[in-house]
């Protein structure tokens, strides 16, 4: 298949998905029973100023999606002067609303916290990838032996382990050994240089470990079946006939082929990984956007909830697109030709 065709299709699909998510996000908060925005907009917790701002921004006095009246009068442009349009145009300007709780712009809150989640997820994923690939490879290579059984049972066990519970267990185990909450010991600031960063690092260990353990198991299972398939292929026998040692074959022939499906799986898995991040950040009080979402749920801070969901959805969509692009570069069968 033509690579450029493949990519164009994927990008288009990504954009369509994005559009649907935006629309979905909008309607969710307006259409469902107990229209939260309207009710909160009347909430006494906000200042008059904030309420007015919301009213204008979200056009709460306007129709939700389409102004049928104006359309009937032939005013097509005016027919779209609705809450939805207001929402989309606000979005286009990077305006995600105002947090009910902190009265700050949602985008500001997100921007502040997002990198903390990125660090956590990146560290966890990288560790999970390395371990999962290695253990999956060994498990498949040693198919049928006790090593395989052991790795497999471990992976199945972790599959049945809720992320938050693993976090709790690690918390209990690490009491006294490692910091058990927050991102940094109170008092330390970035200005403290290395002391600060190493302290953050220490706080990062348990949450990362939790994420890594859970996601390693998924990668083990995927890699294991991928490697099994690859190792049964004819070209492996050819490599053996060439006089290659098992290690060489595993490294140079098998790995490349087995990793390909992993690329797309990692991206797909991200849809679940962010769920894990929410749980881990909650258990360890790691101040990222996962924890933010939890707090927004507890405090009914709908704009933050909505904004965070959008951000997460966009991130996963983008990651999948990136994975598709990466895949097309790695698999020569998809190259231009």
């Amino acid at each position: 298949m033509q690579r450029s065709d493949y990519l164009i299709r994927k990008v288009l699909f990504g954009l369509v998905t994005l559009a649907v998510v935006v629309g979905f996000n909008f309607f969710l908060f307006r259409i469902l029973p107990g229209d939260p925005v309207k009710s909160i907009a009347r909430s006494p917790r906000l200042t008059q100023e904030a309420r007015e701002k919301l009213r204008i921004e979200f056009g709460l006095d306007k129709p939700v999606f389409l102004d049928v009246e104006r359309l009937g009068k032939g005013d097509v442009i005016g027919a779209f002067d609705t809450q939805f349009t207001a929402y989309v145009s606000a979005l286009a300007h990077g305006n995600l609303g105002i947090s009910f709780r902190s009265r700050r712009a949602v985008s500001e809150v997100l921007a502040e916290r997002v990198w903390r989640t990125v660090v956590l997820v990146a560290a966890g994923e990288m560790l999970a990838l390395v371990l999962g690939t290695a253990l999956g490879l060994i498990s498949a290579w040693r198919r049928g032996t006790r090593v395989d059984m052991g790795i497999l049972l471990w992976a199945l066990f972790c599959w049945g382990l809720p992320t938050f519970f693993l976090g709790i267990i690690l918390l209990i185990l690490a009491q006294g050994l490692l910091p058990v909450g927050g991102m940094v010991t109170p008092g330390l600031k970035p200005e403290n240089g290395w002391a600060y960063w190493s302290d953050v690092g220490k706080h990062l260990i348990l949450p990362t470990l939790t994420m890594a353990i859970i996601y390693t198991s998924a990668y083990i299972l995927i890699m294991r079946s991928s490697v099994m398939e690859v190792l049964s292929e004819d070209y492996i026998l050819t490599a053996k006939a060439k006089g290659m040692s098992t290690f060489r074959i595993l490294g140079s022939e098998a790995l490349k082929n087995a990793i390909l499906p992993m690329v797309t799986m990692i991206a797909l898995n991200l849809a679940y990984t962010v769920g894990g991040a929410i749980q881990v950040e909650t258990v360890f009080s790691w101040p990222g956007i996962g924890r933010l979402m939890y707090e927004a749920v507890t405090m009914r801070d709908y704009p933050v909830l909505q904004g965070t969901f959008l951000l997460l959805a966009v991130a996963v969509i983008a990651a999948n697109l990136a994975a598709d692009i990466l895949y097309s570069m790695l698999d020569p069968r998809v190259k231009a030709g």
Binding site: E233, D234, Y235, L237, T238, A239, K240, A241, K242, G243, M244, S245, R248, S252, E253, K256, N257, L260, L330, D331, P332, R333, G337
Partner: protein, 321 residues
């Protein structure tokens, strides 16, 4: 000393329940330098198992239960795996059946050939290696530019030729070709055979060809070993086989093979099927389908006897008896 001498090779396949299927029993032959041997038989007769056994490339359920494989006097079966690896490809190489997936789809063809060269230290310098790869491709009739391409960009015939080029990368003494022409159309088949013949002449190569096609054997081989049900039926030179075959199975095979000199003669066929490995008949394996069987055949397995110098038959009722 002959190049390759196989004696009493027996190979089993172990099933899930632990029982063993006797895929190959007591097969042996001798191959001298520069000569070619055809290993002939119906599917399932064990010919592929024999060559996989020689190279010790059997699948997970395969067991070599007895025999010797003497390559220039050294018994390959007594080597450790590490020692065996040094022999593979450098001295004995193989071209597998149906090169569809025998090449790694995500690596360039040239790189895969270069692998063999680097592995057995035929050349070290990258330019030397590249030159050798180009030379090999050229030798089999592929433009060297194609070395940068991937297997899916090659046609079926090209892939087979690339496999041959790769098999010759380390200038082996012996090339084994497993059904080199099956699954290719007739024109390409002829090309491949011609290529093999030329290479054999040019490089003084010894070849073992595994095939069910007697035409290929007639073209290419000096000696022929006919297998049936895992055992040798007849083993002789190609002329002897085609003109003076003694074993009933060989005779039937030849009858089933269209004779260009006598196109109107009836094509014979052998009724019945080869025996499944888990239900081998107690006596001669061919007995159920044999047109010359006698009572004793169902009871006693015939042994391979030399009825004349260099003509072995496993049937007590061979014609001139």
């Amino acid at each position: 000393m002959s190049l390759l001498e196989v004696r009493g090779l027996s190979i089993d396949y172990v099933r899930e329940d632990g029982t063993a299927l006797h895929a190959v029993e007591d097969v042996g032959f001798t191959l001298d330098e520069g000569r070619s041997l055809g290993l002939v038989g119906e599917s399932g007769c064990g010919k592929t198992t024999v060559i996989l056994g020689i190279l010790r490339l059997l699948p997970a359920q395969g067991r070599i239960v007895s025999g010797e494989v003497l390559y220039k006097g050294a018994d390959l079966l007594s080597l450790s795996e590490g020692e065996m690896r040094k022999y593979r490809w450098k001295h004995l190489s193989i071209v597998f059946q149906g090169a569809m997936n025998a090449l790694n789809p995500v690596r360039r063809v040239g790189d895969q050939i270069a692998d063999a060269i680097k592995l057995h230290m035929i050349a070290n310098d990258s330019r030397e290696i590249e030159a050798r790869v180009d030379q090999l491709l050229d030798m089999v009739g592929i433009t060297p530019r194609m070395s940068r391409h991937y297997p899916h960009q090659y046609s079926g015939g090209m892939r087979q030729r690339a496999m041959i080029a790769m098999a010759l990368a380390c200038s082996p003494d012996l090339l084994i070709a497993d059904e080199p022409t099956t699954a290719l159309d007739v024109m390409i088949q002829a090309q491949i055979l011609e290529l093999l013949q030329n290479l054999q002449r040019k490089l003084a190569l010894s070849i073992i060809i595994v095939t069910h096609d007697l035409g290929v054997v007639a073209e290419m081989c000096d000696d022929v070993l006919v297998m049936y049900g895992g055992r040798t039926a007849e083993y002789a030179s190609v002329d002897t086989i085609f003109n003076e075959a003694q074993h009933p199975y060989t005779q039937r095979l030849l009858q089933a093979f269209p004779d260009i000199a006598n196109p109107s003669s009836n094509l014979a066929f052998i009724p019945g099927h080869p025996p499944p490995l888990d239900m081998l008949p107690p006596g001669c394996r061919f007995e159920p389908r044999c047109h010359r069987k006698q009572g004793i055949c169902a009871v006693q397995t015939p042994t391979l006897e030399a009825i004349r110098p260099n003509h072995y038959v496993a049937c007590p009722f061979w014609v001139d008896n």
